[in-house]
Amino acid sequence: MIEDLILAKYNYWIYVTLMMIGFYAVIAKKNLVKKVIGLNIFSTAIFLFYISIGDVIGGTEPIYIHGEHVVYVNPIPHVLILTGIVVSVSITAVALALIIKIYEEFGTIEEDQILELQS
């Protein structure tokens, strides 16, 4: 029973772990770059979850193979996650641009130090 739970869903456990790691970095780390790294881990974890739910045992890639009857894995999560990755990189880019600007203005990228410098 418990083996079933662990083995049949191991991807989920990994994704939960990764998400917790990323989330922790986002809310607990003071360094802004670390926060962004955390965001990346956080979102990739969600992507892993999406890809995992699309998987089918014994399936093949969702690209047509003519003449054979095969089981394809579910392509929808792939499509969604392609979008997700793009969104993630966009946000990373904007966040990094902000960090560069913050460093120019405040001379540091540690959140607590910036808060002290703020008026």
Binding site: I63, L82, L96, E104
Partner: protein
């Protein structure tokens, strides 16, 4: 110019066209295999990034001027959304590629396939590439930002 630089530059000069061809292949191959506008665009951008890293911003700007980059950024999305508008113009719903009458092709599926491979994916590729290069150049020390 150091000797290493010469080697790197020569290698990059040689490699970049191949990367770009690969990128284009990925874009156009999106319909039949893994890949598509997005991945191809990123690969194209990577080639540009390599070029800038080897030849500096001025070198990179010779290949891709500010204005071209700006226009490419917009054109990519314009192509995509323009095809959608075209569909409206020919009486279909937005993004209904099948409604666009193309010469010589009468089967809706073929029209769709052609427009996806030759239009939509290309549009995505152009925008992705241009934006990635833009962002990279903005981040690049001594890049185009004014400080």
């Amino acid at each position: 110019m150091k000797e290493e630089d010469v080697i790197i530059r020569t290698v990059i000069r040689l490699i970049v066209p191949f990367i770009q061809i690969f990128g284009l292949y990925v874009i156009f191959h999106g319909g039949s295999g893994p890949g598509g506008g997005f991945q191809g665009g990123v690969i194209l951008a990577a080639s540009m990034i390599l070029y800038v890293m080897a030849f500096g911003v001025t070198g990179g700007r010779r290949k891709l001027t500010e204005k071209t980059n700006m226009i490419m950024r917009s054109t990519g999305v314009l192509i995509f959304s323009g095809i959608g508008l075209l569909a409206i113009l020919f009486g279909g719903k937005y993004l209904d590629y099948g409604a666009v009458p193309l010469p010589f092709i009468h089967h809706a599926a073929e029209v769709r396939a052609l427009l996806i491979d030759g239009g939509v994916e290309v549009g995505i590729g152009i925008t992705v590439m241009a934006v990635m290069v833009t962002i990279f150049l903005e981040f690049y020390p001594g890049g185009t930002s004014d400080d």
